[in-house]
């Protein structure tokens, strides 16, 4: 007869092995990018324009471009996302409309990134005649991160206890006053977490900006929202596949700056969430 204890040990070993197969490569990837990218990082690398056909110099225009894009995306997506979350958490009834809205959010989150790129090209670049510009890119990225912001904010607002709202309403506050002065302040950490995660996602995506804003080589800082701009992820793509003979140092350095930017945002989100959990125990 088979020994169930031994079977369990073997099974758990394989489960552990599967977990290690995911976690170890992640660690290796991060470590190797940091190790090979760190020597490239210097003041000059971060503040100079690309030189020698992008084989030397720095990546400042790409960093600035990405910051503009991310900022633009959030300015567009945060108000809409937050209001949408307020609607779902405070106003929506359990009806067909709510069901369709939730389904739309799920679908928005699942649309392939390159399809966002096509959409941005057709709507913003061509139809609205914004051209390939920071405006088109920001709007495209903004719609892409919308579901992240809505979902996180909604969870945050829904986790505020019902009793808080009842007390506020019983004191004579209107529905909106209750939301503005009771629900929002108590859900702010979750909203912040969602927003930062959205920022990180927008900073790292390449496909949506390919045809809406990204410039192959544009060695100056953008002057208006109608300018084209370089961006970190697209720059990494360009120097690792389109331009021959770019040194490892440049490529790993760019990868490290991008990865660092995204991971810092995610760590901040993690810390905000953690502190929130510790502070609030209702």
């Amino acid at each position: 007869m088979r020994n169930p204890r031994r079977t369990e040990k073997i099974a758990f070993f394989f489960l552990f092995l599967a977990t290690a197969l995911i976690v170890l490569p992640v660690g290796l990837i991060v470590v190797s990018i940091v190790r090979k990218g760190l020597p490239a990082i210097s003041w000059q690398f971060l503040t100079d324009i690309p030189r020698e056909g992008m084989r030397g110099g720095g990546i400042l225009p790409a960093i600035v471009g990405t910051l503009y894009l991310v900022l633009g995306a959030i300015v567009f997506a945060l108000p809409i996302g937050l209001f949408a979350a307020i609607y779902l958490s405070e106003y929506a009834k359990d009806n067909v409309l709510t069901r369709i809205i939730k389904l739309a959010i799920v679908n928005l989150a699942g649309v392939p990134s390159v399809v966002y790129g096509l959409f941005g090209l057709a709507l913003f670049v061509v139809f609205f005649r914004f051209g390939a510009s920071i405006l088109s890119g920001s709007l495209t990225l903004g719609i892409m991160v919308l579901p992240i912001i809505i979902t996180a904010s909604r969870e945050a607002l829904e986790s505020v206890p019902q009793a808080f709202r009842e007390v506020s309403l019983s004191l004579g506050a209107s529905k909106w006053q209750t939301i503005r002065h009771v629900v929002l302040p108590n859900g702010i950490s979750g909203i912040l977490t969602g927003t930062i995660l959205g920022l990180g996602r927008a900073a790292g995506e390449t496909a949506p900006i390919l045809f809406t804003v990204a410039a192959f080589y544009h060695p100056q800082l953008p002057r208006s929202i109608f300018d084209q701009a370089m961006a970190l992820p697209y720059h990494l793509y360009v120097i690792s596949t389109q331009v021959p003979n770019v040194g490892d140092k440049m490529r790993y350095g760019t990868a490290l700056v991008l990865l660092g930017l995204v991971l810092i945002m995610n760590s901040v989100a993690l810390v905000v969430r953690f502190r929130f959990r510790k502070r609030h125990r209702w």
Binding site: Y87, A92, L97, I100, I101, S113, V115, I150, P233
Partner: protein, 288 residues
């Protein structure tokens, strides 16, 4: 006055609430509006089943069968790898690991989800591709297999986190009942918990597949981009997504090529829509 303010705010909030529906509709509308134009140049059956994709030769040929097969091949490979490992990892995190280990592993998985696809593509290009070339003695390591391995990694955070949620949602009483009958932890896991969580796990797998089909940059960098009908997993292939990303830059707005790429985008949108709706139904079934 106050009532008016409340009323206006309520309408604004409602408007933002339905904005998501509006955006999904807009995306679909603009893809279809541009994509349908391709059928002036090529019939739907030739488009979907045509065996040659030569968009810039004279006369141009817009058959996307090689691209569909390329996407399917890479996705199938990635699914096999990521489902086995991903579900096992979810079980380990949800049922086996101690709480401190569990939190660390979850952070590790979130870390993987946060790495931009272009960075993973770059790492795949400089490490995985040479390995595949060496191990299988191939003329090039830019193959469907390399793409599958890389994409499996990108699907895993989705699969692990959703499957783990599903495992967590299994009522405690099921587990306690199994233990009371003398089952070991493993017996309880694979005969009771996995079975009870199966709709949620199925949803996790579907969303993982959705992630893989839509992935663009990494796949473009490491699958070799040969638009021919693939005969094996060790050959270069080209996916639907990589075709759009790689060619749209050169296609003139309003050309047949431009419309053909939008038609491919429409196909991708329809696939992801189907996957997401099905997964949502599965997750909904679990809750009710």
């Amino acid at each position: 006055m106050r009532r008016l303010k409340e009323f206006v705010l309520q309408k604004i909030v409602l408007l933002c609430g339905v904005a998501s529906i509006l955006f999904v509709a807009l995306i679909f509308l603009f893809l279809v509006k541009e994509g349908l134009n391709v059928f002036k140049a090529v019939s739907p059956s030739h488009f979907l089943l045509g065996r040659s994709w030569y968009p810039i030769s004279e006369p141009a040929q817009f058959g996307i069968l090689p691209l569909i097969l390329g996407s399917l091949l890479v996705t199938a490979g990635a699914t096999v790898i990521s489902v086995a490992i991903g579900v096992a990892c979810a079980v380990y995190i949800a049922e086996v690991a101690r709480p401190a280990v569990r939190e660390t592993l979850k952070v590790g998985i979130e870390l993987l989800a946060a790495i931009p696809s272009i960075v993973l593509g770059f790492i795949g290009m400089v490490t995985l591709v040479p390995w595949v070339k060496k191990i299988f003695h191939l003329p090039t390591g830019l193959t469907a297999l390399s793409g599958s391995i890389m994409l499996a990694f990108m699907a895993m955070p989705t699969i692990v986190s959703i499957a783990e949620d599903a495992l967590h949602a299994v009522p405690r009483s099921y587990k306690e009942g199994a233990y009371a009958l003398g089952a070991t932890r493993w017996q309880t896991i694979h005969r009771v918990i996995l079975r009870a969580a199966s709709p949620g796990i199925a949803a996790a797998v579907m969303l993982g597949i959705g992630r893989v089909i839509g992935e663009t940059m990494a796949v473009m960098m490491i699958t070799g981009n040969a638009a021919v009908i693939p005969h094996g997993i060790l050959q270069p292939v080209r996916t639907l997504t990589a075709t759009i990303a790689g060619e749209m830059g050169e296609a003139a707005v309003g050309s047949e090529h431009y419309y053909a790429l939008f038609a491919i985008g429409t196909l991708l949108f329809v696939i992801s829509f189907g996957i997401n709706v099905t997964a949502d139904l599965l997750l909904h079934k679990r809750r009710s």
